[in-house]
């Protein structure tokens, strides 16, 4: 167990080294900071950005938008998903909504949101709509997969509806909620930053990227990108940790 873990670590490390090497090769090939900046310079720029006074405000604004969008879509997604999983008729009714939302190009949503909302709300709205279908679909699939024998058992033992929901359905769909949340988050962060680039709220990673792009500051664009990747992976790791804790009942 321990040996394979270290081995896995080495392989991941090798993968990162190769990525940096390719980047370095590209930078040397073009020989211009205006096209591909040096990796080391960019990493220094990341450090400088993190040290900046306004950094927390910028990142904080983006993270708060992301979390707000996530919480709203998680609550809506769970309500819709549970209901759709329990009632086939509601499932048939709601499916076209979910499919439509999922198929609409993100840019269309942004263009419309720019007309309807103020710049601070646009990214939240976008995040919400991109994350919602993942959670709703996963939760509905989860509910449908609950072992009917367990539900029958709970009814035999006279568990009421609330108890069946909270002690049978919800724990049973936890794995589905978590994997839904994980894919939702992955796509949500990207959507938020696109939203910020186009709606230009006062604070936000996307705003900073847009400004950097205007001044052809490629280094800063990539530096902010790296920060966005970092935030996204921190949330991914948190979800995985939570998953381990909540799903410890699963056979190893």
């Amino acid at each position: 167990m321990k040996i394979s873990f270290t081995k896995k670590h080495y392989i991941s490390l090798a993968s990162i080294v190769v990525m940096l090497a390719l980047w370095q090769a590209a930078a040397s090939w073009f020989g211009s900071d205006l096209i591909v900046p040096q990796p080391w310079d960019t990493l220094l720029a990341v450090g400088k950005l993190i040290g900046d006074v306004g950094f927390m405000k910028v990142v904080g604004a983006t993270v708060v938008r992301g979390l707000t969008g996530f919480v709203i879509s998680a609550v809506l997604g769970m309500l819709v998903g549970i209901w759709a999983g329990l009632r086939p008729n509601f499932n048939t009714f709601i499916s076209p909504f979910v499919v439509t939302i999922r198929s609409v190009p993100v840019i269309s949503l942004i263009l419309l949101a720019l007309i309807w909302f103020n710049p601070n709300i646009v990214p939240i709205f976008i995040a919400m709509l991109t994350m919602f279908p993942f959670i709703a679909t996963n939760v509905a699939d989860g509910i449908k997969s609950v072992d009917p024998n367990l539900i029958q058992m709970a009814k035999f033992y006279r568990a009421d509806k609330r108890k069946i929901l909270s002690e049978v359905y919800i724990p049973a769909i936890m794995p589905f909620i978590i994997s839904g949340a994980s894919s939702a988050m992955g796509i949500g962060w990207r959507a938020i930053i696109i939203g910020e680039v186009l709606s230009q709220p006062t604070y936000g990673i996307g705003t900073k990227m847009q400004i950097a792009q205007t001044y052809l500051n490629v280094e800063a664009v990539i530096a902010w990108t790296l920060i966005a990747i970092l935030i996204s992976s921190i949330f991914e790791k948190t979800i995985r940790l939570y998953e381990k804790r909540v799903l410890k009942w699963r056979a190893q």
């Binding site: 367990l150 058992m153 033992y157 568990a159 049978v168 009942w249």
Partner: protein
């Protein structure tokens, strides 16, 4: 010897009680997918007794259990003495909640008005009864099949029910494990002597556990024979001559119960 005599006497006494407060199924009719399972079927069941309903596979035993447990309604007929009764169930599969520990699964059926500490005490008492001490915090995925079924037995007793319905819960366990399960079951059962209705197609299980054994035929179901075993369940050995004799009798009835099928 004197002990078993005393037991026999107790049995006789409870037999008298039974006559006074029996459970009855009267004129039951039930068809399923065009098959008439029950046609004017009658059966009386004794309370505070383990009744084994023995019959060939697919004869409608489970349906009968589900009708008794009010899971499915009969087409017609009446159930006498079952009103207001609370049931617990032991299914063919343990049906434990995988995300709850052994203790959590037992607490699931306990009265929600009980305080957390008394719930815990009650659950631990039953865990001790099925000899799973030390496993209270294990999840079902960490237990063997036999251990899971013991948890489901503990759960059935934890629930303050009047009648325990058992639908072939010993299927798929090897014989020595079956014997042990029957021993554990009988030990807990003696504490409050609940009414148990146990459905099986296995003659050995019926002989080792039942106080009363009812043999049913293929559909439309009728009672082929019915017999009483005085010796307390859990203390019987399948090697005893009179049990061997009974086994032969039951097997003869069961073989008669099977309508010969023509295969093409």
């Amino acid at each position: 010897m004197t002990k078993s005599k005393a037991d026999n006497l107790q049995m006789e006494n409870s037999k008298i009680d039974r006559l006074q407060m029996g459970l009855q199924i009267n004129d039951l009719n039930k068809s399923f997918n065009g098959v008439t399972l029950f046609k004017d079927f009658n059966l009386s069941l004794a309370e505070s007794t383990i009744t084994c309903i023995l019959g060939p596979s697919g004869c409608g035993k489970s349906t009968l259990l589900n009708i008794i447990g009010k899971v499915i309604p009969p087409d017609s007929g009446s159930l006498v003495g079952f009103d207001g009764k609370i049931f617990s169930y032991i299914f063919q599969e343990p049906r434990l909640l995988p995300w709850k520990t052994v203790r959590g699964n037992i607490e699931f059926v306990l009265d929600s008005n009980l305080s957390p500490s008394s719930r815990r005490r009650e659950a631990d008492r039953l865990i001790n009864n099925v000899q799973l001490d030390g496993f209270a915090n294990y999840y079902p995925s960490q237990l063997s099949g036999g251990m899971r079924q013991r948890v489901s037995i503990a759960r059935a007793f934890a629930c303050h029910s009047d009648i325990i319905l058992m639908d072939e819960p010993l299927n798929g366990l090897d014989f020595s494990l079956k014997q042990n399960m029957i021993k554990w079951f009988s030990q807990i059962w003696k504490e409050d002597r609940r009414t148990v209705i146990f459905v099986t197609h296995n003659v050995d299980e019926a002989l080792l556990l039942g106080n009363e054994i009812v043999v049913l035929s293929e559909p439309p179901v009728s009672t082929l024979t019915r017999l009483t075993i005085q010796e307390p369940s859990g203390e019987r050995s399948p090697e005893e001559p009179h049990l061997k004799e009974l086994k032969q009798t039951l097997e003869k009835h069961l073989s008669l119960a099977k309508v010969p099928h023509i295969t093409f």
